[in-house]
């Protein structure tokens, strides 16, 4: 009966649409379209193109030479290994945590708390995470003092590394693990218990299930999440900016320096060149992500 009414409404609907001219409806898309053009397309376009022009507005490829500057190359290298390292740690720890979460019922309180905490730490931490780590392993941090007083270990014997590149590793892992939980837990929860039942019924073992079914099915999701974590670390700015107010060890901090001072390394529009470089790398990573994710989605119907 329901479907009959549905069909009836559908017929009325299509009849009316044929009579009506579509022009006013198209106008309805204009405000959002204009907004996206001005605040998404235009800034992205400017960011991509500004590196390719001189201060006078003439087109040039000379600025791209900045990308071969040892300082810039070093920043890209630092950003890359920092992203890979923290993504790898985050992926492994996050996957383990996701696996543990399967022990709690879906929609239960434990899952809700971990979901909310993951969201906060993964996406809204920024400056506040930097504060947390200064309070923990800063020069006057809780763990720093504890190690000093109780064990006589001075973790800063070789200098205050927390305000330099190595100091970024722990805070980055701290937001990578929750992001892994957010992205990987749905895939893990999508593993069907029936597949395990089938394996056991056919005489297989639990280990065989994981080796022959579980891990092959989850591999694309794991890889996709790993790629997303790389992109996440690569584009992250706030935590690094709050931790190291002077240094420019990674690309986003180089962009800050380039934006706040007129000329960097005696070149023009370095910020634009760096933005271009970042976008290229992000595009590669996110394209890979989309490809792997498509394959992962096969098992998540």
């Amino acid at each position: 009966m329901t479907s009959a009414v549905h069909a009836g409404v559908g017929a009325v609907d299509s009849g009316r649409r044929r009579r009506r001219a579509p022009a006013p409806a198209v106008l309805g898309l204009l405000p959002f379209g204009a907004y996206v053009v001005v605040f998404l397309a235009l800034p992205t376009g400017i960011a991509l193109a500004s590196g390719l022009f001189t201060a006078d507005g003439a087109f040039t490829l000379d600025n791209l030479a900045a990308l071969t500057d040892p300082v810039i190359l070093g920043a890209f290298w630092n950003s890359t290994w920092l992203s890979f390292l923290t993504a790898a740690i985050g992926a492994v720890v996050g996957a383990a945590l996701s696996y543990a979460m399967l022990g709690f019922p879906e929609g239960g309180r434990a899952r809700a708390i971990v979901d909310a905490a993951s969201g906060v730490l993964a996406q809204f931490g920024g400056v506040m995470l930097a504060f947390a780590f200064i309070a923990t392993i800063g020069l006057q941090g809780v763990v720093t003092l504890l190690l000093q007083d109780a064990f006589g270990i001075d973790i800063f014997a070789d200098g205050a590394w927390i305000y330099e590149l190595p100091g970024l590793v722990l805070p980055y892992v701290y937001f990578q693990v929750p992001l892994m939980v957010i992205t990987f837990l749905p895939a893990l929860a999508g593993l069907k218990p029936q597949w395990l039942e089938a394996t056991l019924t056919l005489g297989g073992t639990r280990a065989a299930f994981w080796r022959k079914v579980g891990i092959p099915v989850l591999a694309p999701s794991f890889l996709a999440s790993f790629l997303l974590l790389i992109a996440n670390a690569f584009s992250s700015y706030a935590t690094a900016a709050a931790l190291s107010s002077q240094g420019s060890s990674i690309v986003p901090l180089q962009i800050r320096t380039a934006l706040t001072s007129e000329t960097v390394l005696g070149r023009e529009n370095v910020a634009g060149v760096l933005a271009l470089g970042m976008i290229v790398i992000m595009a590669v990573v996110m394209t890979l992500y989309a490809l792997v994710q498509r394959r992962a989605a096969r098992w998540q119907a």
């Binding site: 329901t2 609907d13 605040f39 992205t44 543990a100 979460m101 809700a112 962009i255």
Partner: protein
């Protein structure tokens, strides 16, 4: 799945009773990056005592992993708390908390209140952009331009691939022009924030749109004589309230945590204020950071609860209320 559990779909279209179809409301989009929600598997409750086939780890394994990771993750948060309780002469007291409320320090902490004000203004404006610009466009696309659905999705998820720091490079000249045209008020940042919240807001609203039959609701209301205004406000908005609410809450959370764009465009919001005050009085900065983290946590917990409630209502077949 939602379609199967829906009952009495035609009657729900009446402007007076928009409530019934809300049983089909989507689970609120948690800030997941993979939108695919796993189907609730009933097989996990091993009521039949046959093969106890569950993928879940043993109780002990669960608690060991959770305990170790949880402990490590609690250390920085606990350190923040310890840090704020340190008394100036050694020992612990609440002096840093009382200092925050002491009127004598009003001048010192003024940037924080200004920043907080700015962030709230930005949160409201950004939510307005989501509710009055994004949501109507998504409804319009669902109703009239189904072919544009994929392009719209691509567009809305695009900001995930564009780092905020890159966006800033392009936004700088635009905000120079905006500054000349309408001034450098902090609220203008909301236009940029509207873009950064686009992926999250889109997912939340789209999940809800997928779960209700927008076309049928609209046509039923229209055929009963409702104008487009009442279709939007009295029929669709109530049915989309879970999606709209989660989209709004998550936008608030994103805006309150945003630092990159505000800092590099020289506008003051909560995060830039924390950054500035941290240099004079790190204790107060850490207190406020703790409060902000707690607030974001509660917001997300609320989104989760709203979503679970909606999902539960959806998965349990409704009884006829006669």
């Amino acid at each position: 799945m939602a379609g199967l559990t829906r009952t009495g779909a035609p009657s729900t279209g009446m402007p007076g009773t928009p409530d019934a179809a809300a049983s089909a409301a989507a689970s609120a989009a948690a800030p997941t990056v993979t939108p695919a929600a796993p189907s609730p598997s009933g097989a996990r409750a091993p009521r039949s005592g046959r093969v106890r086939a569950t993928i879940a780890p043993r109780r002990a394994t669960t608690w060991v992993i959770l305990g170790v990771v949880g402990l490590v993750f609690l250390i920085p948060i606990a350190s923040m708390v310890e840090f704020t309780l340190r008394a100036t002469g050694g020992g612990y007291d609440l002096s840093h908390y009382t200092a925050l409320l002491d009127p004598a320090n009003a001048g010192k902490y003024a940037p924080i209140w200004r920043g907080l004000q700015g962030s709230f203004l930005l949160a409201i404006t950004t939510v307005a952009i989501v509710l009055f610009l994004l949501a109507p466009t998504m409804i319009l696309v669902t109703l009239r331009f189904p072919k544009l659905r994929r392009p719209l999705e691509f567009l809305c998820l695009l900001p995930l691939s564009i780092p905020a720091i890159v966006l800033v490079v392009g936004l700088a000249p635009i905000y120079l022009a905006i500054g000349r045209a309408v001034g450098t008020g902090v609220w203008t940042l909301a236009f940029a924030y509207g873009v950064t919240v686009l992926p999250y807001a889109y997912r939340a609203i789209q999940a809800n749109l997928d779960a209700i039959d927008v076309r049928t609701l609209t046509e039923a209301a229209r055929s009963l004589g409702a104008g487009w205004g009442s279709v939007l406000l009295k029929v669709l908005a109530p049915n989309l309230r879970v999606g709209l609410l989660s989209a709004s809450l998550i936008s608030v959370a994103v805006v309150l945590g945003e630092f990159t764009i505000a800092s590099l465009l020289n506008r003051q919001n909560l995060q830039t204020a924390l950054f500035v005050v941290n240099k004079q009085d790190p204790y107060v900065a850490v207190i406020l950071a703790l409060l902000a983290l707690l607030f974001a946590f509660l917001l997300l917990l609320l989104i989760g609860r709203v979503g679970t409630a909606a999902a539960l209502r959806r998965s349990t077949p409704r009884k006829d209320p006669t």
